[in-house]
Symmetry: C2
Subunit: 362 residues, 2 copies
């Protein structure tokens, strides 16, 4: 049984809901911190639990290369391997092959590519991506798709979308045949939610480039194949920001009203570059003006960084390239994002229409 | 009033004591984690408090260059700047100038050197080192010395020792004239220990190279100048390990029985290189044999790393060069060192003679 999704309130395009997974219930809309290599960079899991995300995102491509799916499976899947009791989502590896690997060759059967680490040759197909994602054991896994490059002409965009649709059907078939091979199968039964999912859930991905008609067709035909949730893929590939919004808004209309939605690829690496979010706007902590600033980063933020350290100290850590800079900056930004999403959820509950679908990813 | 030192028990050369500083009482023998740039690399201060060190060590040379003494002073000294309520010790900068900087020129007045960061020219003297260390506001600060290189002939070793003795006297004079300029002066009065220090304490440093007679002379003449504590400097400069022990043992005999002793420069960067200490011996976590090892790093260790993560996960983090590897490895090794010192203190209390003075640094 896949994840259940309950909608409590809607306000315009905003939906306040709950996604019930084998590893806990997720309040939506939700922001997922990225834990590419089974770690949210620099943050121990007990601190991460305190910061509060109910779900994190890991990358199949990276984990397949290091430490390998077999290792993660033997250690109980991602939850056991990284000692993370809450929900996890993995991507299919398709986007990472598209963006990171070299000498990529796409054929009907799948993609041959070279590792960005050592140049070794590998092959991903819908079936091998499902096999990997079942071994990694995330609660939500993604169909194997081709991320269409930008710009792409009409013919190329359609061909790419058609390929993704065929791969999507193959992903679903393999998943249905093998979903009981998940490494935590036994564990979950005793912890399962009352109405809850006891298996992984596979989500489909809508492609179609920047062509709104193809986006609609891709959505309709992906829904026809049938999934418990749908993602909007193929964005943040170099297109201007207004186009991202336009494609998202147009695509959302064609997705089922009662299923979870996942907007892929709109994350940020701000913390690593010293860009910190506060209730008073963004702060670039590297600036000399903060060198002797005794104030906390954000006086209104309850996170452990703002409760303890000055801007002067954070500026020093960043300027000196100290490991603790990344740790503290990430703690703060994650806290800020999660607080922001809490506010968005409250607003929807109160009937406020979110300004943009980008502020209400679900 | 400088720090007080109370000895509870002795067992051979081992002494079980308490050092009372303006920022808390330190049980000795003690291991001091290194926080070079006002951070124990990768560890947030609240985690560090949990791990438990009662004193940490910061480096004047590094802090002088970044963020500058003036900034640290304005933020309340190291305690305020890094938000660390417990004791801190700073070195004098002499050893770092000796080991890190280029184009060093030693004269009677002091040392001209170039920054290892940007090649800019700087000057350290006993007076400027004291001024910097008073501004940084550590509880224990160190006299400005010349670390004699190894090997060095008899004449050079004596000249270097004599220079250190003159610099030591100048250090004391400047400190006595300026010790009330410490940035936390006002703060401490209300928190002061009942019998406790309300000012910084300046320790003298014994030099003399590997020459045991000069070590004795250096000790006696440093004691004559008079300090509340004494350090053994000039070791770990490339000499064989047995020689380090020999010099330490010989020098200890000439230090006052009732004053704290500080063995400088015998720290380790093991965690950063994946070398982890356990109750069953050292583990090099990078080894492939740990790739699928489900066991905790040290089954007997109560630290949060051993309580939560497998060797397989730690090996993965290290192999993938993840920031969390350094964070978790440091948490474990620090916990292990502090536990070891706890055991040493208990042994001394029970009358067991420590095997080597190197196991009982105080």
């Amino acid at each position: 049984m896949p994840c259940a999704f309950h909608i409590q309130t809607t306000a315009g395009p905003g939906r306040r809901g709950q996604l019930v997974t084998p590893h806990g219930t997720i309040e939506t809309p939700v922001f997922m911190p990225v834990g590419t290599l089974a770690t949210v960079k620099g943050i121990p899991q007990d601190l991460l639990e305190e910061i509060g995300p109910e779900i994190i995102l890991s990358n199949t491509y990276h984990l397949y290369l290091r430490p390998g799916v077999d290792t993660v499976r033997k250690l109980g899947g991602l939850h056991g391997f990284m000692s993370w009791p809450r929900a996890v989502l993995t991507d299919s590896g398709g986007f990472q092959v598209f963006s990171l690997s070299e000498l990529r060759k796409v054929k009907e059967e799948g993609v041959t590519f070279r590792s960005h680490l050592d140049g070794s040759s590998h092959f991903f197909s819908p079936e091998s991506s499902m096999e990997a994602q079942i071994g990694l054991g995330a609660d939500v896994i993604m169909a194997f798709d081709e991320c269409t490059e930008h710009p792409a002409d009409a013919r190329r965009t359609r061909e790419s979308m058609e390929l993704t649709l065929r791969w999507t059907a193959r992903s679903k078939k393999y998943f249905e045949d093998h979903k009981h091979d998940v490494p935590w199968k036994g564990l979950v039964q005793k912890d399962a939610q009352s109405d809850g999912a006891a298996t992984q859930s596979l989500f489909g991905i809508v492609q179609g480039g920047m062509d709104l008609a193809l986006r609609r067709e891709s959505a309709e035909r992906t829904i026809e194949i049938g999934f418990p949730g749908y993602a909007i893929g193929g964005l943040s590939v170099g297109e201007p920001r207004h186009l991202t919004r336009e494609v998202v808004e147009a695509t959302l209309q064609h997705l089922p009203a009662d299923k979870p939605r996942y907007l892929m690829g709109v994350g940020t690496r701000a913390a690593r570059h010293g860009l910190l979010f506060t209730s008073e706007g963004r702060i670039s902590i590297k600036q000399a003006r903060y060198a002797q600033d005794e104030a906390p980063l954000d006086p209104k933020c309850p996170c452990r960084v703002c409760q303890r350290y000055s801007r002067a100290y954070l500026r020093h850590l960043y300027a000196a390239n100290e490991v603790l800079a990344q740790v503290l900056n990430t703690i703060h930004n994650l806290s800020f994002y999660l607080d922001t999403m809490r506010t968005v959820r409250q607003s929807i509950s109160l009937g406020d229409v979110p300004r943009s679908p980008l502020a209400a990813r679900q």
